[in-house]
């Protein structure tokens, strides 16, 4: 059905170029990580992972994600619900503000927290007097991660919600449903796949963040190093097998994320096309997404 306008050789050349780029920039580095990790055998691989500092890095990374992702989930749903379904003053400004963490450098994101909560910062002396530790401790790492991943869920949901319009909600309200009932029974079922997709992306970023976390961490071994920071330390200590073994954990996270994402996209599509009139809605979602990424 597709219309072909290009010469066959042009198409082949373009496809070949794309495949070479893919192999060079994505497959090869991935291969190198796993190759270096397993280079000295599976036993060495597991032994190098079996280290208290590595465990504590994994623990901190998981805790950070466990706090940051649910908070972003709540925020993302609330923000996109407000932006997509209601009109209010300052809406455009809010939409722009949500994107801010994506547009500033992670180093700046980290420095913001040092300037706010550091000993020389705005709240530093007060916090110190009251014995509250934020900077160079897990709270700062969690805060920085929340900041960095702020837009992830909202950005996924806003186009989905916009595409669906507010007719169904209006109908529910007219039939006497409360605000929460409307959300729980009408909006949520409509956005659940988009939501899951956003959460997965958010989680991947939360676990992989390096720049902002590096600025606020203080790099205390076994205490404030997340997995990405720990990998750098291992590498700098000439502990290459352990560094690549830890890196392979993060790479596996990326692969799992990718598989989950594909599965959700697959289900998402099947579900949408199974319903009447959903082709239009899906096209709307797609259009919204393109607008989003442009």
């Amino acid at each position: 059905m597709s219309i072909r306008t290009e010469q066959p050789w042009v198409r082949r050349a373009l496809i070949a170029a794309a495949l070479v780029c893919l192999a060079l920039f994505i497959l090869l580095p991935l291969f190198v990580v796993f190759f270096n990790a397993l280079n000295k055998g599976v036993e060495v691989y597991f032994r190098s992972l079996n280290d208290p500092d590595t465990f504590s890095a994994i623990r901190l990374t998981v805790i950070t994600a466990l706090v940051a992702v649910p908070l972003n989930l709540i925020f993302g749903v609330a923000a996109s619900w407000a932006i997509a379904k209601f009109d209010f003053w300052g809406k455009n400004f809010l939409t722009t503000l949500i994107d801010l963490p994506l547009s500033v450098s992670p180093v700046i994101s980290g420095l913001i927290f040092v300037l706010l909560f550091g000993a020389q910062g705005a709240f530093g002396p007060w916090l110190m007097e009251h014995g509250i530790k934020i900077i160079f401790a897990p709270p700062a790492i969690i805060l920085a991660t929340i900041f960095i991943t702020f837009p992830m869920v909202a950005r996924e949901l806003i186009p989905v919600m916009k595409a669906q319009g507010s007719e169904e909600e209006e109908a529910a309200m007219t039939l006497g449903a409360s605000g929460f009932q409307t959300f729980w029974r009408v909006t949520l079922p409509n956005i659940k796949w988009g939501l899951l997709y956003g959460v997965i992306l958010c989680n991947a970023r939360a676990m992989g963040e390096f720049g902002a976390v590096s600025v606020v961490s203080g790099h205390i071994r076994g205490q404030t190093n997340t997995l990405p920071l720990h990998i750098e330390i291992l590498y700098n200590e000439y502990n290459f097998t352990a560094a690549f073994a830890a890196a392979s954990l993060l790479a596996m996270l990326a692969l799992v994320t990718l598989v989950l994402k594909s599965m959700i996209e697959f289900k998402y599509r099947a579900e949408l096309s199974a319903r009447d009139g959903s082709v239009g809605a899906f096209a709307g979602v797609a259009a919204g997404k393109m607008e989003n990424h442009s």
């Binding site: 040092v114 550091g118 020389q120 110190m128 790099h219 000439y238």
Partner: protein, 336 residues
């Protein structure tokens, strides 16, 4: 229902973390904020000290470590990184803590023996096996076709020692002619293809990435690279003149008083000066102060003619201001 279960799960995890922290709090913990190449030294030393402290007092002490470029680490302590002790690359960085945060008195360096530096080091060259470019002394570094690796003096303590060692050599060679020294340094930095931000970064550049013909390096860092990565690949060249590098240590008064760790923190630093502490330092290629240990490890350290920073530059404050401050001599020679 699912949401409730999810929230309960998160609550359970948070409670578990709380218990974990309570469990930790029963031990005495110290935080030693240090510079880049001391990782292996303190890894070893902390174990020995913990054992010593246990035997002496019956208490468990856990020492946490943080490593990074010396200047960067000082900045973190100023910004609130709760160090009980700092063990940095040079006195200027600890001066900065005293000046910018008031966490320690400005006369901190007089509190311990030997300028508060329990061990010393110097600056040497690491070259590839067989020394293919025939690098013998500082004079060989500006030669055409020689690629020199050294970190950025703006961020790295080691790099500042490297720079000052070269400067001291030039002054001696040209009878204190500063213009000649400036030209000499400029010619060296023309041969530097990458400026890493820390000493360890430069070592990795030279050793792992295979860039450069000579690495200007801490003596201990050079030995570590040779031992870790194969004596068949690198060799150490000692120049005719180098600088006596004194990496100082101090207790951060305000932090130890608030945390109630002054006694153990002070003992931690004093123990560095004992026979046992000095031996550990020597084992990691830091030059010990104690004569008996120095004698014992004499074969390990080649004799070098050393000058001190006070003799040639009049101290760190002055050296920093003249050479590394904005628009200082380093900016003049590297900028254009």
């Amino acid at each position: 229902m699912k949401v409730r279960k999810f929230l309960l799960g998160i609550l359970a995890i948070v409670v578990m973390i709380d218990f974990a922290t309570v469990g930790w709090a029963k031990q005495v913990t110290l935080l030693n904020v240090s510079y880049d190449p001391t990782r292996e030294l303190y890894d070893d030393y902390n174990k020995v000290f913990a054992q010593y402290w246990k035997e002496k007092t019956g208490d468990d002490v856990v020492i946490n470590q943080s490593h990074g470029g010396s200047g960067k680490q000082a900045r973190a302590v100023i910004d609130g990184l709760e160090a009980d002790v700092v063990t940095l690359a040079l006195a200027y960085d600890i001066d900065a803590i005293a000046g910018k945060s008031g966490l320690i008195p400005s006369k901190w360096q007089e509190r311990l023996a030997d300028n508060s530096s329990p061990y010393t080091s110097t600056i040497v060259f690491l070259v590839r096996k067989g020394n293919p470019k025939n690098i013998k002394d500082w004079e060989d570094l500006p030669r055409e076709g020689v690629s020199v690796i050294t970190p950025n003096p703006k961020t790295s303590g080691g790099a500042r020692w490297n720079y000052l060692a070269a400067w001291g050599f030039a002054l001696k060679k040209w009878n204190n002619d500063e213009e000649k020294a400036k030209e000499f340094l400029k010619a060296i930095f023309k041969n530097v293809p990458v400026l890493d931000s820390g000493a360890r970064g430069s070592t990795t550049t030279f050793v792992e990435r295979g860039i450069g013909d000579v690495l200007i390096s801490w003596e201990n860092e050079a030995y570590l690279a040779v031992n870790e990565l194969g004596p068949d690949k690198f060799e150490i060249v000692v120049p005719s003149l180098s600088i006596l590098a004194e990496p100082p240590v101090t207790v951060i008064d305000r932090n130890v008083d608030r945390r109630g760790t002054r006694k153990v923190a002070e003992e931690y630093l004093n123990f560095l000066y004992t026979q046992q502490g000095q031996e550990i330092a020597a084992k990691h290629y830091y030059r010990p102060r104690l004569k008996s240990v120095a004698k014992q490890y004499a074969d390990q350290f080649q004799p070098v003619n050393l000058f001190t920073i006070d003799e040639v530059f009049g101290g760190w404050q002055k050296a920093q201001k003249t050479h590394f401050a904005d628009k200082g001599i380093f900016d003049q020679i590297y900028g254009n």
